[in-house]
């Protein structure tokens, strides 16, 4: 075919825009595609046991590589991330348990107690939480939170709450599951609070008037009438917050204690999360000449990616509205 036979009709503006906008889905597709390709050999060797095993061992890196299932790995290499899955899910769960009540309380306060300028100022303060970079949370956790919890709070809790399962036992050093959960909770509270605050404010006035007319106190109106109406939003915001907590890296890495190959025995135990583990292990994974360790880390990244996409898609489906909550430019967007 000669070059001249192709007709160069100028593309319409809409088509141009459509093509450029395709960069957004293309980048997500590229992330998924390359992580799948890169981690494929690791997934082949590790099998489904990857998510049920409790060992992360890159093997004897000074020995000669061996063949397993047609893939070259180091002798003794064995990869399993059950302890990471446990650490990730448990720390996020603790974060939600702490963040949802505080977030709901803050949302009620911002929507019902303060008005006008004061509401704006308070909202800014609450949302500044989300603007603080993750690594600064980690620094604060290291300097303030970990010593406080490790020296004073955890020993006290371990003594007085020993009758509760997972609250007794060794109080540890302050680095651990609960500390990670607390820091994560601080990071996701603004997300829950600002989404729920807007939902509360936008509840129909008639609901409020009806409740008042029935003689409900103001708090009863909020708690029994307005809040149930925002249940869907609260669930959506909570799932969105879960997605954020699951993928949080730096702050968790700096306060979680970094467990390797064991499950937490109580809420003070050190843990590792999938995201934090990728950062902490890449250097040692690079020692593996067969690249199997690095590829297994890619498999973790892929699993984390799939979980986050699922969680976020679910949350968006529930919320149906975009919200900039939890980001530095916060609620002014809505």
């Amino acid at each position: 075919m000669s070059f001249r036979s192709i007709s160069f009709k100028p593309m319409r503006f809409k088509t141009w825009m459509a093509v450029i906008a395709g960069g957004v889905p293309a980048s997500l597709a590229a992330i998924i595609l390359f992580l799948v390709i890169y981690s494929w050999p690791a997934a082949h060797v590790n099998g489904i046991g990857f998510i049920f095993r409790d060992t992360w061992n890159i093997g004897n890196v000074y020995a000669n590589p061996i063949q397993v299932n047609g893939v070259t790995i180091m002798p003794g290499a064995r990869y399993g991330i059950l302890f990471l899955i446990a650490g990730t899910l448990l720390s996020s769960l603790i974060a939600l348990l702490l963040a949802v009540p505080v977030g709901v309380g803050a949302a009620i306060f911002l929507a019902e107690v303060v008005r006008g300028k004061l509401r704006t100022v308070m909202s800014v303060i609450v949302e500044l939480f989300a603007a603080i970079p993750s690594v600064v949370y980690g620094l604060w956790g290291y300097v303030v939170l970990v010593p406080l919890l490790g020296h004073h709070v955890y020993p006290f809790m371990a003594k007085t709450l020993s009758w509760l399962p997972f609250f007794g036992g060794l109080p540890g050093s302050g680095y651990g599951l609960l500390t990670a959960g607390i820091v994560l909770a601080m990071m996701i509270v603004p997300l829950i609070a600002s989404i729920l605050r807007d939902a509360l404010i936008s509840q129909p006035a008639a609901l409020r008037e009806a409740a008042m007319a029935l003689g409900a106190t103001k708090f009863e109106t909020v708690w029994r009438v307005l809040l149930p109406g925002t249940r869907t939003v609260l669930i959506g915001a909570t799932i969105l917050a879960l997605g954020r907590a699951l993928g949080e890296t730096m702050a968790v890495l700096m306060v979680s204690g970094g467990a390797l190959n064991y499950l937490p025995s109580n809420i003070y135990s050190p843990v590792s999360t999938m995201a934090a583990f990728i950062v902490s292990q890449l250097d040692s994974a690079l020692q593996d000449p067969t690249q199997m360790a690095v590829r297994s880390l890619a498999e973790i990244a892929l699993i984390l990616l799939i979980i986050s996409i699922g969680v976020n898609a679910l949350a968006r489906g529930i919320l149906k509205v975009w919200s900039f909550a939890g980001n530095p430019a916060g609620a002014v967007q809505r």
Binding site: A21, L35, P133, E220
Partner: protein
């Protein structure tokens, strides 16, 4: 009643009004007797309400306390670590200054914005102006999902594809591209939001003047939506400056100033200084971590407040 400021939850006023059911309405001077609301709230319900408000206030108080603690730690620690040499010398081992990191953060953030802004604004324009097409809805959904992709996954993707796959090693290009992918959905969605807020009359008027679709969007709608677009760009800037995880394995770290090469040369950045120096046993290193935390947090806050200012000024 909606204003709810008449404080009928307070026990005193409830009792007072139940004693005298008919009073003259608060100083209106017309002498019309208006029955005040008679309210007998049982002790249990009153306790429930008081406890409820107490807990809500406690939640907010806790948050203010924690935010205060973080800011105190960062700003007091950071302020005492401030010195002119921070801005004039590069990092040497566990001491020195942060000039290389400041430059690196600036280079990486600007590079990321140069990549993400044109793409993100174009995508936002498409999603907003052709919002009923299936492709636009798909892009909006993907942008939402992309916001939720953990930053370390993006970083690892950058490591696998660019640092390893293309052999760029730790480099400015890899760091910028990863940051750009991270910023892209924010710019897209804020552009879309800003355009969606515009009244349709604006577009109709422009079309009525005989403008082409392209001119209507680029010359009328986009300038009108500029404050919103700018907010998205500033948000993206704040994210680029504050991020650590995606850069650790794409930009690397360097004690020296950037040599101008896009690939094959690592570059320093401020958040790395926090991450690597915070637990060092040397006070000079810890001071660097604090100083970097101070600079990053202050910058992010200023951007945050500035973008709010732009948005509110536009609303008025």
């Amino acid at each position: 009643m909606i204003s709810g400021d008449d404080n009928h939850a307070s026990p005193e006023s409830a009792q007072a009004s139940s004693r005298s059911s008919l009073t003259i309405a608060g100083g209106s001077g017309r002498g019309v007797a208006v029955p005040k609301i008679i309210r007998k709230v049982s002790l249990g319900r009153r306790a429930f309400s008081i406890a409820g408000w107490a807990l809500t206030s406690l939640g907010v108080g806790l948050m203010v306390l924690l935010v205060g603690s973080i800011l105190w730690t960062v700003f007091v620690g950071g302020w005492s670590a401030m010195s002119p040499s921070l801005f004039t010398t590069v990092t040497q081992g566990t001491g020195g200054g942060l000039l290389n990191a400041i430059e690196g953060t600036a280079v990486l953030s600007v590079g990321a914005l140069l990549l993400a802004v044109p793409l993100g604004v174009a995508a936002g324009v498409y999603v907003a102006e052709y919002r009923y097409s299936r492709w636009a809805r798909a892009i909006r959904f993907v942008a939402d999902v992309l916001v939720g992709v953990p930053s370390i996954v993006l970083g690892y993707f950058g490591y696998v594809t660019m640092v390893e796959g293309l052999g760029w090693n730790f480099s400015v290009a890899a760091g910028c591209i990863v940051l750009a992918v991270m910023c892209l959905p924010y710019i897209t969605r804020s552009t879309e939001f800003a355009l969606g807020e515009l009244p349709d009359a604006l577009r109709e008027a422009a079309y009525a003047l005989g403008m082409s679709e392209r001119r209507v969007i680029l010359r009328v709608c986009l300038p009108a939506a500029m404050p919103g677009v700018l907010t998205g760009v500033m948000l993206a800037l704040a994210i680029s400056v504050g991020e650590t995880a995606p850069l650790l394995y794409t930009a690397g770290w360097s004690n020296y100033m950037w040599d101008g090469h896009l690939t094959h040369s690592p570059i320093g950045f401020l958040t790395y200084a926090i991450w690597t120096f915070y637990s060092e046993p040397f006070s000079s290193a810890v001071a660097l971590a604090y100083a970097a935390a101070f600079l990053v947090t202050a910058f992010v806050f200023i951007i945050n407040i500035l973008s709010r200012y732009i948005m509110t000024r536009e609303r008025i």
